[in-house]
Assembly symmetry: C2
Homo-oligomer: 316 residues x 2
């Protein structure tokens, strides 16, 4: 069995170190190597943002293409992707906990005004904070997949009032206790109504691209707070700035952007109400992910079905 | 019944507004007023940092003295306090949740290096973060009272490895799942051994004053992180600075200080590894606390025992 690693624009080292071991543990012998043009056909590939050249040479002969991240928009948009090639995402593998921590940090910072206190320290100013009650702060998580559910459960554990939204319905009897779930049948407006914080965790698809406009943000409580840990293209940048300027938003913590790295001239960098972090809210835990991928390769070679396969019609 | 409010150095307004209502709800009619010298003897008093003059005029005739905070060191040290006067602290009343949020914010900030990321934003620098795993980060909570237990449970819920220490033993079968409890029989060194973060939540007593020395900090993992939400006098300031300078501590988030407000010339204000906040980690929720105090006054007048009475020999 031949497995190609193709982390376009990133470093393959840790995968090259972890994957052979994980495959051995799954009972598989395999030739694992970093893909180079002209290489022999691989059976499976592990990739981030595959190049058109890789697609042209390898895609048609692959049994499955694994994304090293939870999102797969970096794969689905690449020319030359065969319709029949299964795309398989990493499911959680430690990312949910990190993302829950990132969102908790951002939410607590905003709720208690901790940034203002840290700014006061820089002026040696003994001040106070506003009275804050998490249970009166309603946080909406847009996108209740594996990661969204973990974020929602963690915010619920911290005492926030939590609401989740996804396209499809959930069984309210079997759902996360304390978290209210809404779906397309309720409508997005019902979800947005009264939100004090909006957390974006939806996949980037044709439906979600440019979803977060000024009109959408105006549906939340005024002023609300935006946290984006999904994809930059969910948000219309100029509308976000307008929402901050008109007081619809009190601020935003953004981990993802339309162009990454965020260009030096982009107004988000210096906006006093925007916190910018460099797409770090959830780093792929390579060891855990390699074990998960090796297990799925073993299952596929036995002809079994695996979870995490992308539905091309939904785009995630 | 006469009740005196005496918030020395603070504002009594919210207590004056909330307490009569809470007493009515508890079935008690009472004359509630802010104490002034020469006032008639009160039956109960609600106080922060009572003055010696108040003690001289009122203490001997009180049935009980209520602290408006969880700590009571601001009362026990005041001259003229009769040995027999019951001192009753506020128990939780919404403070535990706030403190758990404060400590979570500080712990996540340190674990993920979020302050470094915010500093990078000020330079428009797209950078990265260190790999962080909460379950490999052991946090010790020194002082497992009502507040300490809530902090420990919340950190456990976030995935940290949590250890608690208090003077007296707990039943391990009936304790917070996931939290390891240690007491005097294990010894403080066993508790400190391998700690990546140390959270101070102990009351200020003769035993805990100046407890946190350089020698104690050196017992933790190197480098560890200190979070103090208890009382400033638990820590020897110069030893904390020495621990930072020698690399025993990577940093500290401090909400409490020996002198408050922290004097403008104090080195903590400008130390690059110290975060200073102005004693805000848990604000007394007056409405909830007033209800709790009114309920206890009602119980005491019926001759019943109440919880939260300070043990003078322990000092808390």
């Amino acid at each position: 069995m031949k497995i190609a690693i193709h982390i376009n624009g990133g470093r393959p080292d840790s995968w090259l170190a972890a994957l052979p071991e994980a495959l051995r543990a799954a009972g598989l012998g395999a030739d694992v190597s970093v893909w180079a043009p002209g290489d022999a056909q691989a059976d499976f590939a592990i990739s981030w943002s595959p190049s058109p050249a890789f697609m042209a040479e390898q895609a048609a002969g692959l049994q499955a293409l694994f994304s090293v991240g939870a999102g797969v928009d970096h794969i689905l948009g690449v020319p030359g992707l065969p319709d029949s090639l299964p795309i398989i995402r990493v499911e959680d593998a430690g990312m949910g906990a990190q993302m829950a921590h990132y969102v908790s940090w951002a939410a607590l910072r905003h709720l208690y005004g901790f940034d203002t206190l840290q700014a006061a320290q820089r002026e040696r100013r003994w001040t106070s904070r506003l009275f804050a009650e998490a249970d009166r702060c309603t946080v909406g998580v847009l996108g209740m997949g594996v990661l969204g559910e973990q974020v929602a459960a963690t915010l619920d554990g911290l005492g926030f009032a939590v609401r989740g939204f996804s396209r499809s319905a959930r069984d309210p009897q079997a759902y996360i206790p304390g978290v209210q779930h809404m779906d397309a049948s309720h409508g997005l407006d019902a979800f947005l109504d009264g939100l004090n914080m909006l957390v974006l965790l939806a996949p980037l698809t044709r439906e979600t691209q440019d979803l977060i406009t000024l009109a959408v943000l105006r549906r939340t409580a005024r002023p609300s707070y935006l946290i984006n840990v999904a994809r930059g293209a969910l948000v219309v940048d100029s509308d976000l700035l307008a929402a901050l300027d008109e007081g619809t938003l009190a601020g935003a913590t953004l981990d993802v952007f339309r162009t990454e790295p965020l260009p030096e001239s982009h107004p988000f960098w210096t906006h006093p109400k925007i916190t910018v972090t460099p797409h770090i809210s959830a780093k792929t835990v390579v060891s855990t992910s390699a074990t998960q991928i090796a297990g799925k390769i073993a299952a596929l070679t036995r002809g079994e079905a695996v979870s995490g396969v992308v539905d091309r019609s939904r785009g995630y």
